[in-house]
């Protein structure tokens, strides 16, 4: 098992290496010359352009640019934003808590809605509760986030005036105000994930409920509640946990549209701005950080999977 763990952790490094090449390479395909954008008014002056290019090493061969970048990254230096004039690592550290808070809240909402709904619809299969849950899930999957976000702003902020329509207050500044600014975007993001979790929980529960060990549990004389919670759910949750970890990773990668709608200054907004400004160091740094988070989360998912699935433990 320890060997497996070492191997699994060992996979993280090559994955990140390949990702770094992809991130760097793909960005070169973006149309538009960063030097032109940075030069602004002086874009007509070839000397200025050449100077900018030399300064940013844009005149060097691509592999040299890559090696320079990755070398710095390995020493913890993600570079300096061309546009915002701040270290990229500082930007990441600024925005990460915002996105993390949003992701955590969305995930909690998703789990609180999705898992119980999945259980209920499996236990009450082909009954009104099941139809209702499936209908809501279909709505959750197929509703575009930005639309739902706008509707919520219209209703809760414009109509009722309960919640601020946009903006963000950090948790450390004012806890309740912070929750108030993030609850709507968290709900918007959470419903999509909740629907996915609900569908998977339902499917896994239906599989588990039709197993002989569930029949055995009933034959033992256990209450139906115990049969469902102890025997069926504990087995059904194994695949759901993995899925949950991956969905959480997706939430952490930032939600571009939702953050735009609610003007939340998170990862999503940071990366979109950086792409439009051709701010290469920021794009590279943020995408790499996101990838790192994602890779680590899927590692956590695997470890969790092993922890809750005895069949994998001895392997």
């Amino acid at each position: 098992m320890w060997l497996w763990l070492l191997k699994r952790i060992g996979q993280v490094l090559p994955t990140l290496f390949i990702l770094s090449i992809l991130i760097f390479g793909l960005q070169q395909l973006m149309p538009g010359d960063p030097a032109l954008i940075l030069a602004g008014e002086e874009r007509g002056d070839p000397q200025v352009l050449a100077q900018i290019r030399a300064e940013l090493r844009l005149d060097r061969p691509i592999y040299e640019q890559y090696l320079y970048w990755i070398g710095n990254v390995l020493t913890g230096d993600f570079g300096f934003s061309w546009r915002i004039r701040m270290p990229v690592s500082q930007l990441i550290l600024d925005k990460l808590p915002v996105t993390a808070q949003l992701a955590a809240m969305s995930f909690i909402i998703a789990v609180l809605i999705g898992v119980p709904a999945g259980i209920i619809s499996a236990v009450k299969r082909d009954q009104p509760a099941d139809w209702a849950a499936n209908g809501v899930a279909l709505f959750g999957i197929s509703t575009p986030n930005f639309w739902l976000g706008i509707m919520m702003i219209l209703f809760f902020s414009a109509e009722l005036g309960w919640l601020p329509p946009s903006g963000y207050v950090p948790l450390t500044e004012d806890f309740w105000q912070s929750i108030a600014t993030t609850i709507m975007p968290a709900f918007v993001l959470g419903t999509g994930v909740a629907s996915v979790l609900m569908r998977h929980t339902r499917a896994a529960m239906l599989t588990a409920l039709s197993q002989d060990y569930v029949r055995t549990a009933r034959a033992k004389g256990l209450r139906e509640r115990v049969v469902v919670w102890k025997h069926a759910l504990r087995n059904a949750l194994i695949p759901v946990v993995t899925l949950g970890a991956i969905e959480f990773g997706r939430l952490l990668a930032g939600a571009v549209l939702t953050e735009q709608v609610f003007t939340i200054p998170g990862f999503g907004k940071l990366i979109v701005d950086a792409v439009f400004n051709r701010d290469y160091p920021v794009v590279q740094g943020v995408v790499l950080a996101t990838a790192l988070i994602f890779v680590l989360l899927s590692l956590v998912a695997d470890l969790l999977y092993m922890a809750i699935n005895p069949r994998l433990r001895q392997a």
């Binding site: 082909d126 197993q211 002989d212 060990y213 029949r215 055995t216 549990a217 009933r218 034959a219 033992k220 004389g221 256990l222 209450r223 025997h231 504990r234 087995n235 809750i308 699935n309 005895p310 069949r311 433990r313 001895q314």
Partner: protein, 353 residues
């Protein structure tokens, strides 16, 4: 002998729905079955796949609600019991399923699985639980160290032993074995059958064996009930039913046992659909002796001791040969003897046994 389990006119149909969820008929899984099982008796229910025997086994324990008819256990109608009283009753009746890979909760250790009924029905004090688990494991031929391990670490035969230990945990009066060995390798089958037979004898269990394997049935059953498309067509002492079958269907089954020396031709065709079972005698579509009356009139299960549901049971020619020594079990018997270590193996495998 006192009757432990009594079924009267039990009917169970499973609705079949079309794509729009409308009722489009029903699978006639069990269609008017009456049976009784005496205390300490081993009754085998045999028949082809899909004849309703597993459903019948589950109805006996009320794991499935019958549509109509009554199931009485120890004189008590299970349908009248409150849910909690029924759950309490369950300690007296247990089931062993066919698939040893599906019947054990993968997230429970062997000890947890066996101890759960003990705790549920408060059968032993917590402190004595490990001792009881060890005793049960020994009883089914597993080492006490198995207790802390997970189901996936065991082979099919071992898992079936665990399932048996689990079924025995609550000291039940009735155990239903739903094809308990048919998922196992033949050599392992013999071991598990031996184990079951010893347990039935030593613990004086009442056992209902649901099986399609007459070789297995012959080795454990006192009485046999033959099912065809949801109905019992023949029922009686095992030796009589298997040795001198009277219903044409039973004859064909017995003749199909490996090694049976008989000229009864094998059955042709498939079992008709249980959604639209044939009229009259359900076997008439495949019966060599079928006459007009068989299409129209449903035969009743008649006869004391050895009962048959056939209009022509009295007038049919006797089976061409008495099934000599029931050769079908011969290989099994050899294997059983081998694993018991009493007979020298013809292949010389027995040397180190």
């Amino acid at each position: 002998m006192t009757v432990l389990l009594e079924l009267r006119d039990v009917v169970k149909h499973f609705p079949v729905r079309d794509a729009l969820g409308r009722r489009a008929g029903a699978v006639h899984a069990v269609d008017g079955v009456s049976l009784s099982v005496a205390e300490g008796e081993v009754l085998a229910i045999v028949g082809e796949s899909g004849c309703g025997k597993s459903t019948l086994g589950r109805v006996m324990l009320r794991l499935i609600e019958p549509d109509s008819g009554s199931v009485r256990f120890a004189g008590e109608d299970l349908a009248t019991l409150s849910p909690s009283a029924l759950r309490a009753r369950r300690r007296d009746m247990q089931i062993i399923f066919q698939d040893p890979f599906g019947s054990l909760d993968p997230r429970m250790t062997v000890a947890q699985a066996i101890a759960e009924p003990l705790r549920l029905h408060r059968l032993v004090p917590r402190a004595e639980e490990p001792a009881r688990v060890t005793e049960l494991l020994r009883r089914v031929g597993l080492r006490p160290e198995s207790a802390g391990r997970w189901p996936h670490e065991f082979s099919g035969g071992q898992r079936q032993r665990i399932a048996i230990a689990r079924a025995l945990a609550s000291n039940p009066r009735l155990i239903i074995g739903d094809e308990p060995v048919s998922a196992l390798d033949v050599s392992v089958q013999a071991q598990v059958i031996n184990l079951l037979r010893d347990l039935i004898r030593d613990l004086r269990l009442t056992f209902v064996l649901v099986s399609h394997d007459l070789g297995v049935v012959r080795h454990v059953a006192d009485r046999v009930a033959v099912m065809y498309l949801g109905r019992i067509v023949e029922e009686g002492p095992a030796e009589e039913v298997l040795g001198a079958p009277r219903h044409p269907y039973t004859r064909a089954l017995v003749a199909a046992m490996p090694g049976a020396q008989t000229k009864t031709p094998p059955l042709e065709g498939d079992v008709p659909s249980p959604i639209a079972p044939p009229s009259g005698c359900r076997f008439h579509t495949r019966c060599a002796f079928a006459a007009e009356r068989c299409r129209a009139e449903t035969p009743r299960l008649e006869g004391m001791g050895h009962a048959v549901a056939c209009h022509f049971a009295e007038s049919l020619p006797p089976p061409a040969e008495r099934i000599a020594a029931l050769g079908g079990g011969e290989r099994l018997a050899r294997l059983q003897a081998f694993f018991r270590g009493t007979a020298p193996s013809p292949t010389g495998m027995g040397e180190h046994a």
